[in-house]
Subunit: 412 residues, 2 copies
C-alpha cells in the first residue's frame, strides 16, 4: 500500500489555487466559496477512491471506504481546510491530503475494507468566528448549538447562519455527536509551523503533547484629546498604555519556562486619527505553555501588569479571558504503535516534539486515543504565503499513517 | 455694538445638532451632509444679518456686510466647521460664531459698513483627507490644485471630486487666491484645546505663537507566523517593534524642551489576527514644538530609534515625513491692537499663550498680520464629545474681536 508523493503534491497545489487572494496566499475562511471548493475537491477525490461520505451536523466531512459501514469501529485521521487570511498552502491541508492518500492507496490495492475514516474539520483557525476548532468542538460536544450560535463572522452571521448551505444543522448536533467507542484512535498529520524541526533537519516527528492556550481581550480606556495642545503630563493615552502591555507580554514567556510563548496579534485603536490622543485600545493576548501551572502563573502576571500600567496612566482597563484550553498529553499506547510503524519503515528512532500550536487533536484527545505527526516547516514560517513543507516529508508522514492503520491486529 | 451671549449659545447648540453621530459628539467631515448643514446655517445667519456671501474656489465661505464691497480692504475673522470623528461642539465652531456674532451686532446697530469679513475655512482637521487646513492652504496658495487632487477621503474621492457639489473648483483656484493687501489682519478665535488656561482660571488669552508640526508615517515589516509554534527568539514581530517605537515617541518631548509634545494617534496592523504574529505595523507620529530647532532634533531622534528597534528585531522599516509646518510667530502690531482693546474693555492685562495646536491662522500668518484669541477649554478636553467652553468666555473673546474691528482709524 505505497503512498504516492505526486498525488499528494497535486492535491496541495489544487487546493492552494482555491483562495480568495490568488497570488497572495491561502484565504479560505470557513463557509466561504473558496473553502467550499476545497471541501468539494476532497469529496470528489474520496468518492473517486471508492469512499462513501457524509457531513455531520457541525459541518465536518467524513469519508470511509464503501466496504466499511458507518457503524464499524475504525481509525480516524484528518485535519482542516480553512485558513487564516493570507495563510499558507500546507497548514491543515497536509493532514487532510495524507488521510485521503491512504484511502486512495488502499483503493488501488483493492482494500475496500481499510478501517480508516478521513475527516475534514470545519473551522479550525479561529480567524473567521473569533474562536478556533469549532467543527471539532461541535462534534466532540465541548461546544453546544447555543455556543455555535453565539459566534459571528465579519458579515455578522453566526456559525449556523453561515453554515446552513454547507450542511451545518443545529437540530442534529446532539444526535450526530462523536461516539468515542467508534474510533480506535485519531492520528492528525500537520505541519510543525515552527522552526525547530527544519533547523535540526528532522523531517517527521511524533507529537506527544500539545501546549495549552489562554486567550484574552484586553481593553484600555483613556481620554481622546488634541495631540497638539495637551501636554504630555495631562494625557491618558490608551495606545501608549497598550504599548507598555505589548512590551510586557513579549517578556512574559521568560517567566514561564521552556516552550512558553505569548503574542499580541490584534490591536484596534479609537478614534485612530493622526492628531487625536487615542481614547481606547483593544488588544488580544495569546499565551501558550506546555503545562497548566505555567499558564496560571502567566494569567496572574498579565492581569497584574495591565492593572499597574492602567493605574499609573489613569486608564480604565478590562482583561477578559476569551478562551482557556488546558495543556494536553497525547496517548502513550497510540504513540507506541507509531514508534513500531517507524521501526518497520526504517525511520527509527522517530524524533519527538511538543506542539506549541493548538489543533483539532487537542479537542479529540480527552475522548479518543490521539497522537499527531509533524512535518517540518521551512524556516518555521506559517500563517504566511511563504509557508512550505517538502512533499517527500509529507509522503513519509503519510506512509507512517498508512502503516499504523494497516497493522491493526489488536486495535478492534 | 454689544455682542449677545444667547445668540452665540444658540448657534453652537444648533451646529452641535448637525452631526453624523447624534449623541456621540460632532462628526462633520468636510463635504459631508452634516458639514454642509452647518455651513448652510452660517450662510443663512449671515444673510439675515445683512451680509452678502461668496464661496471661493477652495470651498471657503466669505461673508461681508452688504455695504462693504468685495474690493474693499477689511479685517478677516473666522475658523472652521469640520470636526474630527466624535469631536466636540466648540472646536472651530466658536471662531465661526464669534465672527458671525460681530456681523450680527453691527447689523443691529445699523453699521452696514463694518470692515469685517467672516470666513469659514473648508477642511481644517485633517482627518477627512489625511492632511489638515486644506481650505486655508488652497486659498493662501501654499497648496495648488494638483496637491488638492492628490489627497483622498475614505470613499477614495479627492478634494475636488468630494467638493464639487460644495463650490470647490480647481480651475478658479489661482484666480481666486487670497490677495494679502485686501486684509488689514486676521483674528481667529478658537478654544485652547489644552488644560492650561482652565487650570489657572484664565478665560481669554492672546496667542503670540503657534507650535510647528511634523507628521510621519512609520512602517515596520516583519514576518507573519504562527503564534503558538514560533519561539520567542525566532520572531520578527512588527507590533512588538511598534510598541517600542510608541514608548520612545512618548519619551521624545522630554529631550526637546518646553511645550514639545509627541503622539502616536493611529496604528494599523496586518494581518491583525489573534493567533498570527503581526507581519506589519503602520503608525503615525505627530510631533510639535514651539521652535524649529527642537523639531529638527526630534526628527533625528525619531529616525534613529525606529532604525535601531528595526535592526535589533530584524524588521524592515520606513519613516516618511508626511507634513512639515514651521513654528509661527504671530503679528506683534496686531497683538498690540488686541491688548489696547482689552484695556478699553477692562480685561487688561490679557493673558498670553502659545498654541500647541495648529490652526488656519498658521497658514495665513506668513501673508497677513495674524493673531489668535484662545477661549479656555474645560479640563483641556478636546477632540472629544465632552469638549466644553463657557459661553461667557466665548462672548468675551467676541467682544474683544468686535472692539478691535470697530476701532480701525489707522488700519486702512
Amino acid at each position: 500500500m505505497p503512498v504516492r508523493a505526486e498525488r499528494i503534491a497535486a492535491d496541495i497545489e489544487a487546493i492552494g489555487r482555491m483562495t480568495h487572494s490568488p497570488g497572495n496566499g491561502a484565504d479560505r475562511p470557513t463557509f466561504s466559496s473558496a473553502w467550499r471548493q476545497a471541501r468539494d475537491h476532497f469529496l470528489a477525490e474520496a468518492e473517486r477512491a471508492g469512499c462513501h461520505c457524509r457531513i455531520d451536523a457541525a459541518g465536518n466531512v467524513h469519508a470511509r471506504p464503501r466496504g466499511v459501514a458507518w457503524s464499524r469501529r475504525v481509525w480516524l485521521s484528518g485535519s482542516h481546510l480553512d485558513s487564516v487570511p493570507h495563510g499558507g498552502d500546507f497548514d491543515g491541508v497536509v493532514g487532510v491530503v495524507a488521510a485521503l492518500e491512504v484511502l486512495r492507496a488502499a483503493h488501488e490495492d483493492g482494500r475496500a475494507d481499510l478501517p480508516l475514516e478521513a475527516i475534514v474539520f470545519a473551522e479550525e483557525e479561529g480567524t473567521t468566528f473569533g474562536l478556533g476548532m469549532l467543527g471539532s468542538r461541535g462534534w466532540a460536544g465541548t461546544l453546544d448549538a447555543a455556543g455555535l450560535a453565539a459566534v459571528r463572522n465579519r458579515d455578522g452571521r453566526n456559525y449556523w447562519e453561515a453554515g446552513v448551505d454547507h450542511g451545518a444543522v443545529p437540530d442534529r448536533l446532539v444526535a450526530e455527536r462523536l461516539q468515542a467507542a467508534s474510533y480506535a484512535g485519531f492520528i492528525e498529520v500537520h505541519i510543525e509551523q515552527g522552526p525547530a524541526m527544519w533547523k535540526h533537519d528532522r523531517r517527521v516527528a511524533l507529537v506527544t503533547a500539545i501546549a495549552g492556550r489562554r486567550q484574552y481581550a484586553v481593553t484600555l480606556r483613556g481620554t481622546a484629546n488634541h495631540a497638539g495642545s495637551t501636554g504630555m503630563n495631562d494625557r491618558h493615552d490608551a495606545l501608549a498604555g497598550a504599548a507598555e502591555v505589548i512590551a510586557a507580554v513579549e517578556c512574559l514567556p521568560d517567566l514561564l519556562g521552556d516552550h512558553a510563548v505569548a503574542t499580541v496579534g490584534r490591536i484596534t485603536v479609537s478614534p485612530n486619527a493622526v492628531n487625536v490622543i487615542p481614547a481606547s485600545a483593544d488588544l488580544t493576548v495569546d499565551l501558550r505553555a506546555p503545562d497548566d501551572h505555567a499558564l496560571d502563573h502567566g494569567d496572574e502576571r498579565l492581569r497584574a501588569f495591565v492593572a499597574s500600567a492602567a493605574l499609573r496612566r489613569g486608564l480604565g482597563h478590562e482583561v477578559a479571558q476569551t478562551e482557556s484550553l488546558p495543556a494536553v498529553r497525547l496517548d502513550e499506547g497510540l504513540a507506541d504503535r507509531v514508534r513500531s510503524a517507524a521501526e518497520r519503515l526504517g525511520l527509527s528512532p522517530l524524533p519527538e516534539a511538543v506542539s506549541g500550536a493548538l489543533h483539532d487533536a487537542a479537542i479529540l484527545a480527552p475522548l479518543v486515543p490521539t497522537v499527531m505527526l509533524f512535518v517540518a516547516s521551512r524556516d518555521g514560517i506559517s500563517h504566511n504565503p511563504a509557508e512550505f513543507s517538502r512533499i517527500d516529508d509529507v509522503a513519509e508522514a503519510t506512509q507512517l499513517l498508512a502503516d499504523v492503520v494497516r497493522n491493526v491486529p489488536d486495535a478492534f
